[in-house]
Subunit: 333 residues, 2 copies
C-alpha cells in the first residue's frame, strides 16, 4: 500500500477550513497538524473545528515552529494571506522545516515580477532545503491564466488573448459581497481604490504569468478598478441596492504592445450579475472561443486545486515553481 501524504493546514479561514474538510474526504492524503492564530480555535481538535463526527487526534496550535519540530509531515497547505510581504516569514519557517508548500497567496502565483526580490529568496531557500513552493488557486491560478495558457497549446500563432470572468457576488458569503464594494457610495469606493484597500489581488500576477510563458514582452501594463453601478433595485440576504448604488467591482488588467492591447483580463464581481460566466478568446491560429456557463465557483474550486496539486508538488523539482512548471492538477481521490 502506498504511504499517505501527510498534510499540515496553515491558516483556518474559510478557504483553509474548506481545504481541510476536503483532505478529510481523500484517501491518499491525511491531516497531521493545523496552525491558526484565532483564539477560538487554539487547543481544539481539528475534527471539532471542521464539524466532523470524529476527532482527528491533534489540536490547532499557534506555534508553527514547535509543530514542525514535533510532527512528521510532507506538505503544508498555506492559506493565511494574499501578500508576500505578510506571509514571507511564514514561508521561510515552513521551508526551513523541510516541508513543501502549496499556498493560496495570490501574489505567490507569479512573484517574479512584482515581488522579484522575495521570490528569489524563497527559490534559493527552497532549493537549499529540497522543497517545492507553489502558489495556486482558481483566480489567480486557473481561470484567467492557466486555462488560457493551456488553450494556446493548440495554437500555431497567438496574437491576442481576452479573458472575462463575471461573478455574481449576490450568491456569495457576506465578506465577499462587502469586499467587492457592494452598498458603498461611489465616492467611498474610489477612495478605497486609491488607498488600495479595494480590488482583487492577483490580476497582475495572472497577466505576467500569461505574458511570460508566451514570450510576450509588454511595453506597458494598465490596471483599472471601477465601480459597477446597478441600474435597478437588487436585494441579497445582506444588501438592498437602489439604482445608482455601487453593486460591485470591475477590475481590469491590460498588457500593451506596440500600442495594442494584446492581453486583456476583465474581472467583474457584483450583486445582480444575472449570467455569470468565464470566457477566453484567443485571437490566433486557430482562433479559440471558450465559455464556461455559470463560471467556475470560486471557493469550492480554490480548495479543490490546492488539494489536487499535492501529488504534482510532491514529485516536482525543489524551488519556487509556477503552475505552468509542473503537470497540471487533476482531480485526485
Amino acid at each position: 500500500m502506498k504511504k499517505k501524504i501527510r498534510v499540515i493546514h496553515y491558516g483556518l479561514g474559510p478557504i483553509g477550513i474548506e481545504t481541510a474538510r476536503l483532505v478529510f474526504r481523500k484517501s491518499m492524503v491525511e491531516s497531521v497538524g493545523a496552525v491558526d492564530i484565532s483564539k477560538d480555535m487554539l487547543g481544539k481538535d481539528l475534527g471539532e473545528i471542521l464539524g466532523l463526527d470524529k476527532r482527528l487526534g491533534f489540536s490547532v496550535t499557534e506555534n508553527a515552529k514547535d509543530l514542525f519540530a514535533g510532527t512528521k509531515a510532507d506538505v503544508v497547505l498555506h492559506t493565511t494571506g494574499s501578500r508576500i510581504r505578510k506571509i514571507y516569514p511564514e514561508l521561510e519557517e515552513i521551508i526551513r522545516a523541510g516541508l513543501n508548500i502549496i499556498s493560496s497567496s495570490e501574489e505567490l502565483l507569479f512573484p517574479l515580477k512584482e515581488n522579484a526580490g522575495s521570490a528569489r529568496k524563497v527559490d534559493a531557500l527552497a532549493k537549499k532545503h529540497g522543497v517545492t513552493v507553489l502558489g495556486t488557486g482558481v483566480n489567480p491560478g486557473f481561470v484567467m491564466d492557466a486555462l488560457p495558457l493551456f488553450l494556446t497549446g493548440v495554437c500555431q500563432d497567438v496574437k491576442k488573448i481576452h479573458v472575462e470572468r463575471f461573478v455574481d457576488a449576490g450568491t456569495r458569503r457576506y465578506p465577499l459581497q462587502k469586499k467587492v464594494g457592494a452598498g458603498m457610495t461611489e465616492r467611498a469606493f474610489r477612495e478605497q481604490v486609491a488607498q488600495k484597500t479595494l480590488g482583487h489581488v492577483g490580476l497582475l500576477e495572472s497577466l505576467y504569468l500569461v505574458a511570460d510563458n508566451l514570450g510576450m514582452s509588454l511595453d506597458d501594463v494598465n490596471e483599472t478598478v471601477e465601480p459597477v453601478i446597478t441600474p435597478k433595485v437588487v436585494k441579497t440576504a445582506y444588501f438592498s441596492l437602489r439604482p445608482g448604488d455601487v453593486a460591485g467591482i470591475k477590475h481590469t488588467a491590460e498588457g500593451i504592445k506596440d500600442g495594442e492591447k494584446i492581453i486583456t483580463l476583465d474581472l467583474r464581481m457584483f450583486i445582480g450579475c444575472e449570467e455569470p460566466y468565464d470566457s477566453v478568446h484567443i485571437v490566433g491560429t486557430p482562433e479559440i472561443r471558450l465559455r464556461i456557463e455559470g463560471g467556475v465557483a470560486g471557493d469550492q474550486a480554490t480548495a479543490a486545486i490546492l488539494v489536487n496539486s499535492i501529488s504534482a508538488v510532491m514529485d516536482a523539482q525543489p524551488g519556487l515553481m509556477t503552475v505552468k512548471d509542473m503537470p497540471a492538477a487533476h482531480f485526485t481521490r
Copy 2:
C-alpha cells in the same frame, strides 16, 4: 544565446508538412532532417517540398538510420501512422539513435491499456537510451481527454464526464470527408465499420487516459460507430448528398461503472454540421459546463501541439510519457 533545438521530421503527409512549415516559423527550433517514403519527395530539399522561398540545405531521405547516424539532432516529430503495430519499428530505431520522440500516433497517446506490451518495451528502451517518448495531438491528446482532465483540477468531486466534439467535415479536405464515410451507402458504411476500416482512431485511448488519471476503475467500456444520415440536401466541393445518404460518422466511447455511464465521449464528424463545437460537462463539485464555439480546428491544432510540446519533452524524464505526465504545452515562439 540559447541553442536552437534540432528537429527531424519523420513523415511528410499533411500533418507532417504542416508541422514542418510551423517549425520554420519558430525561432527556437530548427529542422535538420526529414524522412519520408514518397518517391516524389526523395532527394528534394525540404524547403522546396514545403513551398518555402528558401532551401533548407538538406533533402528528404527514406533511410532514417543513415540520417540519424550522420546528423546531430534532439527530437523527432513523428507523423507516419496511427497504429503502434505499424510504427513500432520506427520508434525503436529513433530511440536507439538517442532521439526524443513526439508522435501524432493516436494509439501512442495512452498505449498502456490496448497496447500494453509494446508500451512497456518502448518505455524500457527509452529509459535505457535516456530519451522521452510522447504521443499527442488535438484528438486524441487535447479536446476529449487533456482538456476535461485539466478542468477537474478545480473539482472537489467528479461523478461523471461528458465530452462532445462535433466537426463539420464539409469544410475539410477530401480525404477527411471520405474518411468519415460521406457519400457511402449505409450498408457499405456498416461493412467498413465491421472490418474496422472506418472510425476515429484514439477514442478508447482518450477514455483510458481520463479514467486512469481520475482513478476511475471501469466495469465496462462500450464503443459504437454509427452513420450520421443527412435529413436534407447538402453539397460540398466533393460530395452532393441527398436526404437519407450517409453524411459522416458518430463514434462514441463510454466508460461504465456500477451500471452508469461515468465517462461519455461523443465524436461526430459529418458534412452539414452547421454549428460545430467542442463541449465538456463535468458533473461534480463544482459543476463545469464548457463550450468552445466552432470547435478547435483539427489539422492546424495538431501541428501546433506537436511543436509546442518540444520544450516540455526536452525537459522531461526519460521513458514513455503521457500528456498528463509533464507540464501542459503552451504556445511557444
